[in-house]
Assembly symmetry: C2
Homo-oligomer: 325 residues x 2
């Protein structure tokens, strides 16, 4: 029987749970254990739960460790720490701090002889790949990234701080006008606020003044004042029924010119019913790549830019050329 | 001064001319010569034209040869022949014969110590990459490739054979209904004919019976009978003014499920004002990759599946991580 790629999951939040589910769709993987800082006996999972302090004992049992912690405080510590012991994959997404994070993980992974794929997922990740592709193929052009429709945690927190708001959620939505102008090859100058609008769903406290709430949200500096903002008032039941999923997505567009004056457009679109589950699926495909690169004898930190797509698929190069090229 | 990647172009049709133009947008390249089977003195180009029989003298002067011949008769011969002398890039697009073509080019390239990137462009090429990506990330899902709006040479030839047709052109167009159903996550079963409609623009001979022409086209077996077909009659002036460009494009969609029942959609879209100029721009980006892989000491035939995106960009890995990740 062919060797299954054995993996561990570090962190059992939405992303870790998504990875656990994604692995079930990929029969070439075997989940060895989920590592958590919480008390394993107090959690339920379909898989073995182990306290993170015992991770060292798993060094010979796990081909790739999938790090599912957050970028603010977990990964800056765990990334380098785990690269010293395992091949790893993570979704570190603080764009501005990627070079620094790469350097730290790279140093540990080289020292220990492991491969660490950092900052994968969809942005950074698949969107980054499409930004690079667009620029390389259409050097005379402009790139546009639109995010949404998806929940912004920061903006949802902001509406919930308004007096009289019981529950609230905010979706960032790409402006259809802006997307159409880019698709039409107009190459417009667009700021983040030209590209997006903000839609809020609010459950008001009983007796609260809806007009005041709406006015306060729409005039909130930084968050909403400069944006086209839509406010809906809904019931608590509606909030539960229609706003508990975690959809997201967006567009990466590259509009360029070739030759004399030919307009060329490349567009990549994601419409995600579940943001964490999709990110998890990307992590699993890159875990496969990490395993393969390590087997080839490569070491150090890698990003999506360094990894050929062939390494993401369970199929052989011959199969891929025959079936998908 | 940094070394410029020196390239030659083999074949000076639409694609070769597109490459000549694309190279002007990429300052890290230098075009050494264009090689042609025709008499160079009878052609005009902004660059040096050389008869193809003299190509061997250029082995030390050219880093990558960009093969711009056709897939039917040129490339099956030129691909292996040039791989024996140069690093090469080509757009061999007869999907069914790719494994055989790969084997022949690979053997020559390994023997001579060169890198040959085969079958790049947009399909095969960028569309293939997106088919692979979709399948690797959403293993439980369905893939849909739509082509167009673009001219189909075979179907245009067919309408021109109808009696009474002076000039004719046929566009393959993705069915909006079919695209919408896929985007909505319905995962429909769709044949090529469900996915596309066919639009013909006809300049009739003077006095020709338009109703008969239209009926003959619409009932033509294999080509049109099974498709939704639209026939327009236009003037010769209109044909020249509006139908001499070579637009093309299409969609690759992957619709899948993750977790319990989340619908996830990945879509890649191209809208190309000029099909040959865009293909040429892709060839140039992959010529950069061929040069880099050869410098690393790699040899043999490669496809888009084997090449990391980082190799397509003139930017350094550090720059890419900082600016585009």
């Amino acid at each position: 029987m062919e060797h299954k790629i054995t993996v561990g999951i570090v962190g059992y939040g939405n992303l870790g749970k998504g990875v656990e589910l994604a692995l079930k769709q990929n029969p070439d993987f075997q989940l060895e254990a989920i590592f958590t800082r919480r008390k394993p006996e107090e959690l339920t999972a379909g898989s073995k739960l182990v306290h993170i302090s015992e991770v060292q004992a798993y060094q010979d049992k796990i081909d790739v460790m999938i790090l599912c912690g957050g970028s603010a405080t977990d990964l800056p510590v765990q990334g380098p720490e785990f690269a010293a012991m395992f091949n790893t994959v993570d979704s570190f997404d603080t764009h501005a701090r990627i070079p620094e994070y790469f350097a730290k993980v790279d140093a540990e992974a080289r020292k220990s002889g492991h491969v660490s794929v950092i900052s994968t997922g969809w942005d950074p990740g698949l969107f980054s790949l499409n930004r690079l592709l667009g620029e390389a193929i259409l050097p005379e052009g402009k790139e546009y990234t639109f995010w949404g429709k998806g929940v912004s945690q920061g903006h949802s927190d902001a509406v919930r701080r308004v007096e009289g708001v019981k529950l609230g959620i905010q979706y960032t939505i790409p402006s259809e006008t802006a997307v159409s102008r880019v698709r039409a090859g107009e190459n417009p100058e667009l700021s983040t606020r030209d590209k997006h609008l903000r839609e809020c769903f609010i459950v008001p406290e009983e007796g609260a003044d809806r007009d005041r709430i709406e006015a306060e949200i729409k005039s909130m500096p930084n968050y909403f004042a400069d944006y086209e903002t839509i406010v809906h008032f809904i019931s608590e039941e509606e909030m539960k029924a229609n706003h508990s999923a975690m959809p997201h997505g967006g567009h990466v567009l590259r509009s360029g010119k070739t030759g004399a004056d030919s307009t060329q457009l490349i567009e990549f679109v994601l419409k995600l019913g579940s943001n964490p589950e999709f990110t998890a699926s990307v992590l699993v495909a890159y875990a496969r790549a990490a395993y393969r690169l390590a087997k080839e004898g490569q070491t150090g930190a890698k990003t999506v830019f360094d990894i050929p797509f062939g390494a993401l698929s369970p199929k052989s190069p011959e199969q891929l050329r025959k079936e998908l090229l």
